[in-house]
């Protein structure tokens, strides 16, 4: 496979500063299972960014971060309202249903975003035992289609949810992108909007592995250590996850990496927008560009640059940039697209 491409931000490797942090953490013995000093300091760094009043737990991957958040907030007979495009709905092989017992109630979305009206469709049957009881609204920030919820949009959802006794979960596998786009800190778009819990992604922003579950509603965290263990997500040498988060968050690496990836996506979008037969289909608010292009061009481009077809029927493709995407890669790619689309 090509050494570069636009397949996904998890096709990239590990940021050098994070590799250095791993090496740094590799001295002597440390207690396992999170009772080590790196975990302790990583939690402190999270508190600095998000807010003091949180509980933080590390898990191995994004699937787990999402599913375990939902598990912490639900009983088996509850339901989770999410966008039809939500990763938890389409890309987890049924893990949320399997591990929580809950039904997912799928709301129509625009660019992956849902609003109160979409949510309302599922807000009925409360107290009626034949009906799975809605308990969580889950939103993805930025969405799987690269769009970013504005602060007031999140606050409206949170307010509506809390009024009706529901919790709000944010799937932040690429949260840093949203902070870059909105020009805010990580706390402002999370704690600041009143959400109850967050999956915070590291892997798609230059880490090797590891994601964080952050509870703003700390009641939900009370028994989380047991949930994590029983869910097979308690790592033994946890200092190595913690060290990576320390590297990501202690300075501004999280922001630098995300901003770079975003910039590359913008350049790519602008570059292809000027090509007649290519149309960008979603707002470019993070590190992904969705575009429609002539079907016959796709396999030709894929020979050199790996990327996924998002929607076979419409010949819509997804191009994802990363912390390590070079400007030159983008330029070469745009050039190639131009050539291929004009060749007929």
């Amino acid at each position: 496979m090509a050494q570069t491409g636009f397949g996904s931000d998890n096709f990239s490797g590990v940021h050098k500063e994070i590799m250095d942090a791993l090496a740094e953490a590799n001295h002597g013995h440390e207690a396992a299972y999170g009772y080590d000093q790196h975990t302790e300091s990583a939690i402190k760094v999270f508190k600095k960014h998000f807010t003091e009043d949180i509980d933080v737990f590390f898990v191995f991957n994004g699937t787990a971060a999402n599913v375990l958040c939902l598990k912490a907030a639900t009983d088996n007979y509850h339901a989770v309202i999410c966008a039809d495009t939500a990763h938890i709905n389409v890309d987890e092989c049924g893990a949320p249903e399997r591990f929580t017992g809950c039904k997912l109630l799928v709301a129509a979305s625009k660019d992956g975003k849902i609003g109160i009206e979409d949510i309302k469709v599922h807000m009925h049957g409360f107290g009626f035992e034949h009906h799975a009881q809605p308990k969580v609204i889950s939103i993805t920030q930025p969405t799987e289609l690269g769009a970013v919820y504005r602060l007031e949009e999140i606050r409206a959802i949170v307010e509506y949810a809390h009024e009706h006794g529901l919790f709000v979960h944010m799937d932040g596998a690429r949260l840093s992108q949203a902070a870059v786009f909105l020009n805010t800190g990580l706390g402002e778009i999370t704690a600041g909007t009143g959400i109850d819990m967050l999956s915070f992604g590291g892997t798609k922003n230059g880490m090797m592995y590891g994601e964080a579950v952050v509870f703003f509603n700390r009641d939900l965290a009370r028994n989380f250590k047991y949930i994590r263990k029983q869910a097979m997500q308690l790592g033994s040498k946890m200092r190595f996850v913690a060290a990576q988060f320390n590297a990501l968050l202690s300075g501004n690496l999280w922001h630098r990496s995300a901003a770079h990836a975003h910039k590359m996506a913008r350049i790519l979008a602008e570059g292809v927008n000027s090509i007649e037969s290519v149309r960008v289909t979603c707002p470019v608010e993070s590190n992904a560009v969705f575009a429609v292009l002539p079907a016959h061009c796709i396999p030709i481009l894929q020979e050199e640059f790996f990327f996924y077809v998002w929607n076979e029927t419409d010949s819509e493709v997804r191009w994802v940039t990363s912390f390590d995407t070079g400007k030159r890669d983008i330029e070469d790619f745009i050039e190639k697209i131009k050539k291929v689309t004009q060749s007929r």
Copy 2:
């Protein structure tokens, strides 16, 4: 906490050669989720060690390796026979029951080992729908108490299991230790004994994270990729798990590291055996020493060297050595024990 100690082999860090392999793997883009070249070559190396006729899958940790093996071989109404001391029985917070739906049938053990007679106690109720149906025998090699099953013991269990339509799972979180002690290769004690599936541990032998599920009975592997994904155990940047296994298994690192840890345990056991008030309680066949010593000595020793009390009532302790345990650490520790036990 002390920079060295005998808490567990997952208190140690990562072997330098494995760190190097991680750095080596960190170039350019690679397909995620195991469709990369490192995973491909790691699987080849597994086949060289174990036997060509296997399927190999990487997961994040030992809990998952064990639970997912059991899941692959059972329906919800089955039962798993294991030792009372088995990690799956006492240290997984009920994860096996939770994720497989199966009942664990607990057999009495000697040094963590079970034999046909212990197993037979649970071999009834077949075809009787009120009874969870025994389907898997799970053994730990070496056991949680540091003892190693001899090849003929395993073969006897396998033969008995297969005669009765049961599968055999081996929890090999420290399998390399058994190979060192029995002076065999990894294949001889696994494929060579006829077991159906194996959890092969990397983390306790110098890796950062990552364990392998190995199916010798390949029918059981058929749908495993879905099981792994739904169980939240599919890593995206899988090349980094694969690279570690490549480093561990391509040369003889797995053996060197295990042999060293074993040697340190032997020295420790011999050293303390000569101390009057200390008694080694289990055979030292891997990298752990279990010993009884005067209760008042334990906290004094723990001030300087971290280790766990195994059995409060008997003041039995567990000392685990690791690839990075120094001979000097052992000597200092023995010296200290002598001093402390004689000080009254």
Copy 3:
């Protein structure tokens, strides 16, 4: 509450002939858990109606019949395609997801019926481990909206399903209604169409309790006795379920009762159709009438006749008839509706 009404066919009591059969079965001792002579003969009667080549199991209620059918045909990582209106989707409090681990993939429906095009929307992602794998298509016959699939419609779905490696489940909580409407036997619309498994309802056709799970694809029945037991659905004094099915199916009681209820629904529909402000909204092909009427009339009618509002927004109501609905009840009800709708 009113002694009569149109709330549901499970508001009615037990048919006299079934009560007699219960009394008849109440002599002496019989082996429990289905190893009795009544169960034996009930299974024979099922075979006479449906086809010899089946397996039959009794469970307590319709929720269980549906969920256990799905469980028998799926692994946890599978998905079930069903209509948005399907009982398993909207009225089981998430029991299908909870007990099977499967995702429900919801297809748009017309009068509760789905066709190949609706199903196709979900027929993708096969072999892709991130995607719950479609394995069962579940249809309700007649639908929750009272419509009946024609034989060729079912055969088309079955053919499509089998071509793609999926099974077909039929929720036949009111199957007798469909047989009456299509003027067929019970076997013709089930075995005759090639479906793999059936939930056959007794309670809504005059039984006290008890439903049957019928496997036409007998491979799926192989371990069903364990599934039923573990699902808490194995009744001890099973002769009393069997005796009811014997009464229902040995003669033509099933047909008489269903035909009567259907006739009552037709009379009701015809009666209200002539009322200007009332509109019947779904085909009346079973024992339910769906109608829209002026919102203010609903509570007035409900004072005397119990029934449910189906859709608050549209003031659509559901009226269900039963084996014991009197012609006089229908006439009184029509009269009342006339009076109430014209009173403003």
Copy 4:
């Protein structure tokens, strides 16, 4: 099979007074799912017997009553301590583990009874996330071996449990037997001892089907209606379960039936005790007699009288009496045993 025998109390039919109550309840329409007048009055009768301050729910069978009690009181990572002989441990095909996710911690028992010392063996690992957290102690009253806990024994367990933050569940599938033996009311041995929840059995005391879940700790009942529905245990024509309980509990039928069965067991035990080669092995405190007799006699006796071998190795058998066991049946049986045992 023989028209009479000692197989189990669920081999018997339905008490005439209960059949009459079913016929009585079979008039007109009633709201389904427990919103009917029979259910309302049955709950009142429960309150009269047990105590006003309870919540009562009806389910279909004893498996469900037990499993749903446990579910209501636990999270997935909890553990339930019970006797090795407990029905939930040996006779539910793993339903408790499957539906609750909890581990069962098995305590050694005497005649099926456990005491504080047996329980204590499992009272460790609290707060330690690797360990399933003990949360419920489940006792069977009378036990599966026919012994009855004395009030002070139950109170001691309850006191110990509550001190340690655990709940107490009583499996009362044959609770009426205990009340007869202890000469108390139903409330005295349940509410009066401080237990948190009860499975109260009807089927083994002359009902057709139906068991009750009774919460003395009403916090545990808060979401039970959803648990019951999702567990497929919500019956539609619930009035017919309620009517049976009304018949059982409104007068003294529950006591009459239980007392009769107990008396028959006493006569049987006394009768066989005088036979030299027969030895009664458990206290006869309910409606079961456990006895050891010469192995060769068992099949001869079984030709005429059905009963189960309890323990093949020891040729121990179980004889269960019922509300409809005749004194003559007992006498015939004793005579037969005498003849058979002396015939060699």
